[in-house]
Amino acid sequence: MAEKIGIYIDKATLGPYMDLDQLVEKIKNRWGDATPIIKVFDLVASEEAKKDIKKDLDSGAIDGVSIVGPSPREDTEYFDFGPKVLVDRVNLREQGVMAFKNPDGSPLKPGEEPPQLFWDMVMDYINMSVIKLQKSVPAEGEPLETEKTILVLGGGWTGIHAAQAVADAGYNAILVEKEQELGGYAAKMYKSFPINPPYTSAEDPKIEEKIQALKNNKKIKIYTGTQLEKLIGQPGQYTALLKTKKGEEEVKVGSVVVATGWKPIEPKYLEPLGYGTLKNVVTNVEFEDMAKKGEIKRPSDGNVAKNVLFVLSATNLYEDIAKQEEEERKKKLEEAEAADSEKSEEVDIEETFEPIETYRHLDYTSEVTSLTALKQAGYVREFVPDSVAYIIYEHMVTPGVYELYYKSAQNDPGIMLTKGKVTSLYAGNNDNVIVRIEDNLLGEIVEIEADLVVVPTGFVPTTALEPVINLEYRQGPAFPDLDLFDGYADSNYICFPYETRRTGIYAAGPVRQPMTLARSVSDAYGAALKAIQCIESVNRGVAVHPRSGDLSFPKFNFVRCTQCKRCTEECPFGALDDDEKGTPKPNVARCRRCGTCMGACPERVISFDNYSVGQVGSMITSIKVPDNMDKEGPRIVILACENDAYPALDMAAKRGHRWSPYVRIIPVRCLGSVNTIWIADAMSKGNDGCLLLGCKYGEDYQCHFVKGSELCNRRMINIGETLDRLGVELERVRQEQVAIDDYDRIPEIIDSFVEDIIKLGPNPFKGY
């Protein structure tokens, strides 16, 4: 709790627009001994100012620092006085002088006495900063003893590389494989398509060597024929319950790499390609088995296949399945909505696991199936003299460097590559398969009679079929919301491929996305790094991405907890478990510090050292609301997501936009952390409106904390009753979805909201 706050004012920001002696006087009058030092620097972002502030801190004259000047996003290196010193930034440059406009639209004029409205704004922001510091303590973090062992789930190609990567970095790895042998599908391959430059020929993945290296490595413990029964605890301190060949065994691990790979798509999804009905149609997995055994034979008669045709895709043959799935999806959505609207106040925490089956897994595997067909066409040529391999494709999906492999296949005269639409497959004489191809490059309908047809396999991620990670978490055993990614344990973020909703658990390889062997190796390394990084962060008591390095964490005052379970339900990261009574049990190492729990809690029992319901509530209630709205204008509180909306406002100002002088902007960690009491506080103090600026939600959500803006929106629907009780119109509170590049749009959003509020008239609470 800062009791003596030093206020340091940037003359470069405010000097041209107001009398700073007068400002210092005003602050003194308002805060007295609470702000024993108030200084004006020509430039607050300077080495001189930094030294001066440091001196004030060292002398004990102050224990908190408020910097009045540029946006908190700028010049940060000048204002870091270590983790023990509270610093707040009052943004009076970008969101003050640059954004201010008079009600008539005119900007501030340098050298002229500013209007009272500007004085009010400056004082409101400085007052809020003082209160914020008064209601904060330096966060101390909660470092945990961590187990420096990483559990690698899945002993296929990706898992093998992940375990090796972990060991090479000096950590221990426990490698758990369900099958009796390591190697997965890679060990079942005759050859792999190229893994290394120059990417022109199939190669031996040399998996035996890699497995041997693991077996010889003292840092790696291998369990085959073993399954993960349960994963209990939190990052840094997990207990993994393994069901081994000999019985149950408990191991301690710090974090997890999930490399459980894929399963071939259900045969029913290959029926449109004749699989299951035509004797000589096999999948590429079955074909690989044949090659591994050294013979390419027809299932119907065991004869060597000389004309082998590979089909890569046939979109037109899947139209019915696509339509059917779309209808089912819609029906499910409607049912869910209906169930939602019937849902009472009852809190439903645990997500039930439902397997995800879709023909789309076939589509999504296009790169691997294209490369596999090229490789297997090569097998045909290698194994059978005078053979011909046909590859019929709609799109040859060999992106990037794999173009080079495609080209090298084109050089083989025995490999016929043809674009075309496969419209039917049927049995000919002698169980041959006749493939009808339209829209091909020859410009006519062609029928090819093949001895054998090879159809692709879709990579169905293991996470689509079972929970895999078997968490003993209150929110359920699996990664949540996997339907967004059709079952792949993937990240929702382009920028952050390893973002996970279960801290400490990182997916790699085809369980994350269908990918090649080369990519899987790289992915294994990346996931291994994230697993190590998580252990080290937990050990230092800091958060991982996106608030990496944050020492604060939510603290619970259980005395007042009513066991409503909202925090446990709403945490996007499943950080909370609960006991039989429903009392939440926080797990700090799972937590990302977004504050969603704080926003959810109706009893306000959750707070961070430097961010709390009471703190922001006091800031809001400190805003001076004039009694006469017609004369002095309304007051409107804006709660802005600090990751996107807030930077967008800075940029808007930099691009010359200005907005209404009646708003006061308060950054929040995430809209998820907004507690509805803040709105009630704002309204009961006579503020005329409240605008919430947060990220896009729903499919393709942009919230860095997954659910924050969506949850906030849901709470706003519920706030209607509260407002009703207060006698305040619903229209006074609005949430807008904005993105960080909406800088040209946000000022309009603000101004139009202010206009609507002015039309609505003053808050009935004003003056009370």
Binding site: Y364, P399, L404, K407, G443, L529, K530, S548
Partner: protein, 412 residues
């Protein structure tokens, strides 16, 4: 022996590699040639397939950099020499003068007082800039840079009066001791002037896909309005020419990975902005790997987005309308197509930044300029310096490179 890591290139791969290593606890130096971090993604309007703005992720990355004392960034900096061996390198880095104070002050008014209008390379020549500038409002570091070559002696006098300008700033060279090096030098759009059959960059309304990103970007030269460069008019008929330079032995032998998805994405920019506009995409194969297939399906469900399988043979300007004639052969019907478009976008390929250049580091490169890693030397490659990749895979590859670098410095 050093446990520090050097990352060369401050684009998305380099930033990711640096941050991921630093957050494990390693000291990292990030060296960027340009005045700002962010590289190519800084120039993009939106990412496929989410259609979200790159500045959103960059903001988080920049916050992570600001908070982390383990990272030191050098902009306008280039590695000039590397000596030593894996685990113990001495690296000389030359830092060019910025001529401005290391502060975020707003110098826009001062910039306006300068006369010269310099071709804006960041905007691919679609606009000009003053010699005192920032690329974008979210640039990091958020500090102006003075392009002193375009300032007159008179102007220097004016500039010298500003406390935020330091005309005496000088080039300096610093020495870093590192154990491992990550090369993340990224890519550049293939030089269109070499594509003589596709207008060689001389047709006003035939732009490349990166120029399209700038036109669509809200902070770009048109504030996000997609218009024809020749007359500022909204285009009604737009063609995309895929594989402009890629998959071509005379140019780039490989596929550039991103262009199919980029064109589909850009088709959506156009269709969102102009409900009547018609888009045609001329392609060889539509390569939308992985779950991108879903995005392709969504975009192609739009009746006004048409695809034609066929490589474009020729692009010519229509003098009367400033339109662009596209000649292609429809590979399926065999018909020759010649059609007039208002605007043509060349989906230019991705060339490694090091093509035709060299780093003062002993590493192997292929004939195209892609770099190979060397575990023995402790030198690794992240992102498009190694192979053509999209952003997600660049970030993935940056993370993997960080892991390898950590293994190198830990093991010694």
């Amino acid at each position: 022996m050093s446990k520090s890591i050097l990352v060369i290139g401050g684009g998305f791969s380099g930033i990711t590699a640096a941050l991921e290593a630093a957050e494990v606890g390693h000291e990292v130096y990030l060296v960027e040639k340009r005045p700002f971090l962010g590289g190519r993604v800084m120039q993009l309007n939106k990412y496929f397939p989410k259609l979200c703005p790159p500045s959103c992720g960059l903001e988080i990355q920049f916050q992570r950099i600001k908070r982390n004392p383990n990272i030191r960034c050098f902009t306008m900096a280039e590695v000039v020499s590397v000596t030593g061996k894996g685990g113990d390198y001495e690296v000389a880095v030359k830092i060019r003068p910025r001529y401005t104070a290391p502060k975020s002050c707003d110098l826009s008014e001062l910039a306006e007082k300068l006369n010269a209008n310099v071709k804006n390379e960041f905007e691919f020549g679609l606009s000009s800039r003053k010699p005192l500038y920032m690329d974008v409002p979210f640039a990091y570091p958020g500090r102006y840079v003075l392009d002193i070559d375009h300032v007159s002696e008179e102007e220097k006098k004016l500039l010298s009066k500003s406390p935020f300008i330091n005309l005496k700033d000088e080039e300096k060279t610093i020495t870093l001791n590192v154990g491992s090096i990550i090369i993340a030098t990224g890519w550049k759009p293939y030089d269109v002037t070499r594509l003589t059959n596709l207008g060689a960059g001389s047709i006003a309304n035939c732009i490349n896909n990166m120029q399209m990103e700038r036109l669509a970007s809200p902070c770009g030269p048109t504030n996000g309005k997609i218009v024809r460069p020749s007359d500022g008019k909204p285009p009604k008929k737009i063609a995309f020419v895929q594989c402009a330079g890629s998959r071509d032995e005379n140019h780039l032998s490989y596929c550039s990975y991103i262009c199919c998805m980029a064109s589909l994405k850009q088709a959506s920019y156009i269709r969102d902005m102009y409900p009547d506009a018609e888009v045609t995409i001329f392609y060889i194969d539509l390569r939308t790997p992985g779950r991108y297939a879903k995005f392709a399906e969504k975009i192609l469900a739009d009746e006004k987005v048409k695809t034609v399988k066929g490589k474009v043979a020729k692009v010519e300007e229509d003098m009367a309308t400033s339109g662009v004639w596209v000649t292609a052969e429809d590979a399926i019907s065999g018909n020759k197509i010649t059609e007039l478009f208002d605007l043509v976008v060349l989906a230019t390929g991705m060339q490694p930044s090091l093509a035709g250049e060299s780093l003062p580091i002993d590493v192997e490169m292929d004939s195209e300029g892609f770099v190979f890693e060397s575990k023995d030397k402790g030198i690794f490659v992240a992102g498009c310096a190694a192979e053509p990749l999209d952003v997600m895979k660049s970030a993935q590859s940056g993370t993997a490179a960080a892991m390898k670098a950590i293994q190198t410095v830990r093991g010694r």
